[in-house]
Structures are given as C-alpha cells and as structure tokens.
C-alpha cells in the first residue's frame, strides 16, 4: 500500500469502528417518549391500502381495512357477534328479512352522518363490484325504512347472514363512492374515509410501513393508542427490536422462533389457524372411488406429517371438515382413521388395485403413479407424503409450482391430488362453496347425495340446536366420504410485550381470519 493511501484507510477504519459502536436503533428516537403508540411488526410485504378494494389479497389486508372501515356487526372479546354500526338487528321468523337499526352516533371520518342509505348503497355497490370475501348471492334487496333503519331481504333463509355477510362486509360512504366506476383505481386519500376507530395517516410502501391514527370521537369506544404503527420486519430483527422496547407485538412469529422470543422476555400465544392443509382430489380420476380416499386417510400418518414437516408448528387435523376451533365442531361424530397400512391395503384391493411381488400397487397390471401438485409453501409436507406413500408401494410424482400456475392446474388433466391450504373458519354456510364450489381452491366435490343436502340444510337452519345436529351429521358423513383429507391444522403465533394482550378469536376475525392483532385489541374494554 502506498503512503498516500494510508490516511484514506485510516478514515475508513474509523468509520467502520463508529458503525460498530452505533446501537441497532438510535435510542433518542425510541418509543419510550410516546406511551400511547403501539408498534406491530409483520414480515410480509405490501398489504395494499386500507380500503375494501385496495387491500392486498389475503386476511392481513382485510385486517387493515377493518381498522378503518367498520362493519354492521362486530365481535366481542369472546368472538360472539356484537353491535358495531348496527346497534340492533332482528331476523324475521321466516328468515327472509333482517331489520337493522344503525347506531345514531356513528359518523364517517369526515364528520358526515352514517345513514341507512349508505348501507343500502354498499349492498348495491358490492353486488356490482364484487369483493372476494363477501358473497351477496342470497341478498334480494334492501329497503330504507328511515335514516337509521333498514330492511334487508333474502332470497332464502340463511343461517349465516349475520355471521358471514353482516360481520364481514365493510360499509362504504355513499357520498364518496357513488361516483366511482372503478374502485380498484380509486386510491385518493378520500377513498380511505371510513367509520372505524383508526384512519391511515401515512404509508411508506417501499418499506412496508403503515401509521394509523386514532379517530376523534369514535362512536364505538375509546382507542387505547393514539398511533398504531405496522412495520415490515423480519421476525429475528423484530425480536431484537422488541427486546429494545421498540416493537410491542410480532404478529407472525414463526414456530421455530418461539423459544428465542421467550428468551427475550416476550409472551407468546399460539392458536390453531383453522386453515387446514388439505389433500384435494380429482374427483373424476382414480380417487372417484371412496375406498381409495379412505385408504389414503388410513395410510397417511398425520401426526408424523405435522411433526416432520412442521416440526411441531401444526397438529393433525380433524377429518370431518370443521376443526376444533369451530363452535360447531363435533368430535364424537367424526371418524378418526388411525394410521393403519393394512386397512389401507385392504381398501385399495377392494377398489380394484393389486400389489405386485415387490409390494408396488398396480391397476390392470400397470403400475399406479399418482400426480400431486402443490406450491412452494407446502413443499416439505409434499415430500413427507411422498415418502409415506412410496414406503407403501404407491408411486407419487410431485410438482411444485408458484401459486399463479397452481391456480390454473386442471383436475384430471394436470393432477390426481392437489395439496394446498384452505380455511375452515367463518360461518359454516361457507361449506357450500368450499366443498362443492368449482373454483380452483374449492374441493369440487361432485356428489349430489346426502352430504350436499346436509350442507344446504344447515346453511338454512335458523334453529341453532337443529343446525348443530345437522352439522354433526355433516361432519360424520364428510369423514366417511372424504371430499378432501384435512391433513394438518397449522398454528399461528403472536409474540408481545407485557403492555398489551392480543388475542385470537377461536373462529377467527370477522369472516374467519386467524389474526390476533385486530382492531378490538386496540379499544378499551
């Protein structure tokens, strides 16, 4: 090194030394100055904007919209239905009309009164501009009875009208949205005028950072925090930041970091997500035969799947569709399918498959090779399934693809088995679409027999006891027919400091979103 370079290196080493000395976050800007600020971290990327049409797909985007836009019906601490924009409601005896009385105190963030006209407008607007999470097929119309009262008429009785539509649909301000032909390109600040406890006051998209501020005179209660910040941070960095008092809640703690978080004096809460990872079938292919679906249920060791692929971050799922988070879960009526390869072999023989001398399964003397497709997220699970099937003599080819391509895979043409997560939360009226619907992520079950009748009957049954009995019967039959095999129920974990207590609702937030960082956590009891 020449003598002229020495000073430059000196300066460089000084800089490096200074950098090493600097704390991870500068202390003078830390959170201690503002006790009414809550910082929530999440490792996800952009969640979109907090409006019903600009929120990112998925439950987290919905959760942010839920900070800003109130729905007609909300939830109390236990998750039960509670008044929100609607102060009270009454369903007619025939279940075909629902009268709603709005809270007269409720105001839009710009001070305008919220009236039944806004509610009627929202029903009409959402019918024209569909929202992915809200199905309005059964809504026949709305009738404004007074500025604060409204009648909603239904085409058929709907047991879930309150616990799916009313609790899930954000109400839009008519005076803002009535001129918007394309709400997906309406991203002005006006688009975010809602009725909820918080408004979005800043959003730095590139950094994935949101700041919500409390709305003055919120009709629904008192906010615990003046400011709620949501910041994108990798979980490891978030734990460090929480240990320094800069992050209060880590909303998506991976299972592998639970111990690490506890070592940093964080409290950890875990809840089964109710988003089961399902093995779905091409119902017109080899798995049209119920014995083969049952054989797979006996064959796959679900406890081992959860232990190996999720390292304890999941538990084996119930095979009756509904999981143990659901109030309608009927454990006694569900068949359990304990791991039993002999039983599986007997069922496969019964279905017409045979086994050659090496133990490999054949149909009409040609070896059986099953095709499974999945996305990267479930790759580890697919590998363990492959190992279990191949140890039993069933050849399985696994194709892992990105989600966009997975959505376009055709049953029969592209796969015999598809492995993907799917929610079982939300009111059980959703069973009709999730089990019998034809979207790529529905189970596409074609049977027109008792199972479908039970699903329809429970969806229209207004008597809770009767509905519980129908759903118990449904779960039993589901576990017998297995339109899909629910393999594992993956856990969701939240970590937090002592100053706040987030909680999971058993059946999820609103339409069934397994998050603990909902707006109810931000309100005083």
């Amino acid at each position: 090194m020449g003598p002229r370079l020495r000073p430059a290196f000196g300066v460089l080493s000084l800089c490096l030394a200074m950098m090493a000395q600097a704390p991870l976050v500068s202390a003078d800007t830390a959170d201690t100055a503002n006790p009414r600020r809550l910082v929530i971290s999440n490792s996800n990327t952009d969640w979109g904007l907090a409006t019903p049409y600009l929120q990112a797909r998925g439950g987290l985007g919905y959760m942010l919209t839920h900070f800003v836009f109130d729905n007609l019906v909300g939830q109390d601490r236990s998750g039960a239905l509670a008044p929100e924009l609607a102060r009270e409601w009454e369903l007619s005896d025939d279940g075909l009309s629902l009268d709603i009385r709005l809270n007269p105190e409720a105001r839009w963030h710009d001070g305008t009164d919220i009236t039944s006209s806004d509610v009627a407008f929202t029903f009409a607007y959402m019918a024209q501009h569909p929202h992915p999470f809200i199905s309005l097929d059964n809504i026949r119309g709305t009738e404004i009875l007074s500025p604060d009262t409204l009648r909603i008429t239904l085409a058929r009785p709907d047991a879930g009208v309150l616990s799916s539509v009313m609790v899930g649909m954000p109400i839009l301000p008519e005076h803002i949205y009535r001129d918007q032909d394309n709400p997906r390109t309406f991203s002005e600040p006006r688009a975010m005028i809602g009725s909820g406890p918080y408004r979005l006051s800043s959003h730095e998209r590139a950094k994935g950072r949101y700041v919500f501020s409390a709305v003055e005179n919120y009709y629904g209660g008192v906010q615990k925090y003046d400011e709620v910040m949501i910041a994108k941070l990798q979980p490891e960095a978030a734990i460090q930041a929480a240990a320094n008092g800069q992050v209060n809640v880590i909303s998506d703690l991976p299972h592998r970091l639970v111990d690490y978080a506890k070592e940093h004096d964080l409290q950890v809460q875990t809840s089964p997500s109710g988003h089961a990872i399902k093995l779905r079938f091409d119902h017109s292919g080899p798995f049209a035969a119920v014995q083969r679906r049952q054989a797979l249920a006996y064959l796959l060791d679900r406890d081992a799947l959860a232990a190996i692929a999720y390292r304890g971050g999941a538990r084996s799922a119930s095979l009756g569709y509904l999981q143990d988070n659901s109030a309608w879960y009927a454990p006694d009526s569900v068949l359990r399918y304990p791991h039993d390869p002999d039983r599986a072999a007997a069922l496969l023989r019964e279905s017409g498959w045979t086994r050659d001398d090496d133990g490999a399964w054949q149909q009409d003397d040609t070896p059986v090779t099953l095709r499974l497709v999945t996305s990267g997220r479930e790759e580890a699970l697919a590998q363990v399934i492959k190992d279990q099937l191949e140890a039993f003599g069933l050849e399985l080819s696994v194709r892992v693809m990105e989600r966009g391509a997975l959505r376009k895979q055709q049953p029969g043409k592209d796969y015999d088995l598809i492995l993907a997560g799917g929610s079982t939360l939300g009111d059980p009226v959703t069973i009709l679409e999730r089990v019998f619907g034809t979207r790529w992520n529905n189970e596409r079950y074609r049977d027109d027999g008792t199972l479908r009748q039970l699903a329809m009957a429970q969806a229209q049954s207004l008597d809770p006891d009767r509905r519980a009995a129908l759903l118990a019967e449904f779960q039993q039959l589901y576990s017998r027919e297995l339109p899909a095999i629910m393999l594992v129920n993956v856990n969701r974990t939240v970590a937090h400091d002592n100053g706040i207590e987030p909680w999971f609702f058993d059946e999820g937030l609103a339409i069934g979103i397994p998050v603990a960082t909902h707006k109810y956590m931000l309100l005083e009891d």
Binding site: L5, T29, R205, A206, R439
Partner: protein, 342 residues
C-alpha cells in the same frame, strides 16, 4: 454492446478511424439500443401474459365467493383494462408507454410511476455504494496480481479470488448477513433504516449508510471477482510491454508505477466492463434486496411477477432497461474516446 477488447487493439483501431466514423459508430449503436429497447417493451408486455393466470385471478382469489359468470368476468376484465386479445392488450400497453404513462398497479393501488419512484432510489443507493468498492478493490488487486505474473502476490490473490468466484453470490450475501448481523451483530440485519428514523438529517444519513453497508458489500463482492480477473489479465499483458519494462529499468516503481503505468492504461477496459456491469448489478440487486429485506426495485419486480402485475412489471423493466441501455451506451462512448486517445 462492445465486448472486451484489449487496449492495444483498441488503440490501433482508434488511430485508424476518422472522427466522423466514430460519431457514426456511436449513432449506430444508439439506434441499436433504441431498437433493443422497443423489442424489450413488446417482450415484457407479451411474456407475463403467457404465464398461467392473470391479475384478475389474484385480485379475486377467494374460496367463498362463487365463480363469476363469464359475462361478469368479461365485464370486469374490460373495466380493469385486461379485455381483448393478446395483440390488443399489447397494443394498448405500448400506446400507453409511448404517451409516457407507466400505468397503474391494481395490486398496490398506486400508479406505477410512484411505486418506482419510491423504490428506485434505494436500489440506486446500493449500486452507488457498491461501485467504488468493487472498482477500487478490482483495480487494486487486479493490478497488484498482474504487474508481476507468477509472483507470490499474484498466486495468493488469484487463489483467493478463484475461491470467492466459486461461491455463489447469494451464499456470500447470506454469509455476510450471518457473520456481521447475527453472530457478531455490528451491522443491521435488514431494512434500509431503523424502525424510528432519527430526527436530525446527519444522523439519519448515517443510519441509512449503516444499513446499506452489508447489502452494498454483497453486491460489490459479486462484481469484484469479474474485475479482478479481467484486469489481472490486462495488467499481465502490460507488464511485458516495452514502456513498462523501460520505466522499471529507470527505477519507477511503487504507487507511481501502479497508477501511471498500469491503472491509466486499463481505463478503457474498465469503462467497457462498466457498461456491462450496470445490467448485472441491477440483476444482482434482486437477490441482495430479498436477502437483506431491502426496499428496492428488485423485490418490487419479483413480487410483480408472482402477482401477475403486468403494468408494474412492464414499467419496472422499461425504466431499468432505459437506464441500463443508456448507461451502457455512455460507457461505450467513453471507451471509444479513451481508446482513441490511447
């Protein structure tokens, strides 16, 4: 794009060509680049649409909503601007881009122009911070190794660089992260700024610089190997040239020899190489940004592919391609001029 030509060859070619010829060459290469740019725009409009699925599938992904009827789906597609045949869609894209409108990202709910304006400065910062590092190290080590081929310094440096070259760049990045941010946490593990940016501009700039150190270093290491080998080779050739041998016999050595006799003569090669580096740096910033959770154009583009966000993808590629091609042209012009001066 001019490849790597030895400075001697360039010198001779430069001396022979008339000044008008050079201008014509530059003009021609500019026209070539504009044609490449146009082709890229078409390609980036067509290719994402050939991927399975489209933006609407992502926007309407749901398992509780009934599948929309074909008519409704068509109407929604038209309203969101995805209607018509592939040719119509591509035509619409190109007309829009010609008007200077980068379009609107439905998934981010924001104009593409704004999304890119938020992300580009961060990627720019990483590249700007990495460039002096890989240039400085590349030149210094390359000259050191090449000025006396076969010497002890050459053997050690070349062996070290070969080792570095054999490690995939994302592994180097993860290793940096592991060593300097996790095992021995002297630098931040991710992001571009602390959670609560400092109030004073100087302190804030310092924090931004600290956050840029590891990703910029990862980016620089990706490039330094290439420069080292090219410059070592060139320096080795120079070390046998008469003017160097002559200078050494006159007792010129040390810093002056390295600077005036080697580095100065390597400038055209460095410039030619820089033209290509611009493109590789933008590509490499993709994995660096993902690994260091750095907010930049790489992670934005990657997500756009997964989301089938056509407008954003096309806008990002258009802006990047324009940047890369014009910088590349600029470096070529510079190389040409330097080679001519000899």
């Amino acid at each position: 794009m001019s490849g790597h030509i030895s400075p001697t060859a360039r010198q001779e070619a430069g001396a022979a060509a008339a000044p008008a010829g050079v201008a014509l060459t530059l003009l021609r290469s500019l026209v070539h680049r504009i044609a490449v740019f146009g082709f890229l725009l078409v390609l980036m409009s067509v290719l994402p649409r050939l991927l399975p699925g489209d933006t609407l599938d992502v926007l309407m992904d749901s398992d509780v909503q009934r599948e929309l009827a074909d008519d409704d789906l068509h109407a929604l597609r038209d309203r969101l601007g995805f209607g018509g045949s592939l040719a119509e869609q591509v035509g619409r894209d190109l007309l829009r881009l010609l008007r200077g409108d980068l379009g609107y990202s439905l998934l981010h709910g924001a104009p593409v122009r704004r999304l890119l304006a938020e992300a580009l400065p961060w990627t720019g910062l990483l590249i700007a911070a990495a460039t002096p590092v890989f240039l400085g190290l590349g030149i210094m080590l390359g000259v050191e190794a090449g000025r006396q081929p076969g010497s002890r310094a050459d053997r050690v440096l070349t062996a070290g660089m070969s080792l570095l070259a054999s490690i995939p760049p994302f592994v180097t990045a993860i290793a940096l992260l592991l060593v300097f941010a996790i095992l021995c946490p002297v630098l931040p593990a991710g992001g571009a700024e602390p959670l609560f940016p400092a109030a004073t501009p100087w302190l804030r700039a310092f924090e931004i610089a600290r956050h840029a150190v590891l990703p910029a270093l990862a980016l620089a290491l990706h490039e330094v190997v290439r420069y080292f080998f090219v410059l070592r080779g060139e320096a080795a050739v120079l070390s046998h040239r008469a003017f160097v041998v002559n200078a050494r016999s006159r007792g010129i050595s040390g810093w002056r020899e390295r600077r005036d006799y080697f580095s100065r003569n390597l400038l055209p090669v460095i410039c030619a190489r820089l033209g290509q580096s611009v493109a590789t740096l933008f590509t490499a910033s993709l994995f660096v940004e993902v690994i260091f959770a750095y907010p930049g154009i790489g992670s934005l583009t990657y997500q756009a592919v997964l989301d089938r966000d056509y407008a954003l993808l096309q806008g990002a590629i258009a802006v990047l391609a324009a940047l890369v091609l014009s910088l590349n042209w600029l470096f070529d012009a510079l190389t040409e001029t330097l080679a001519r001066r000899g």
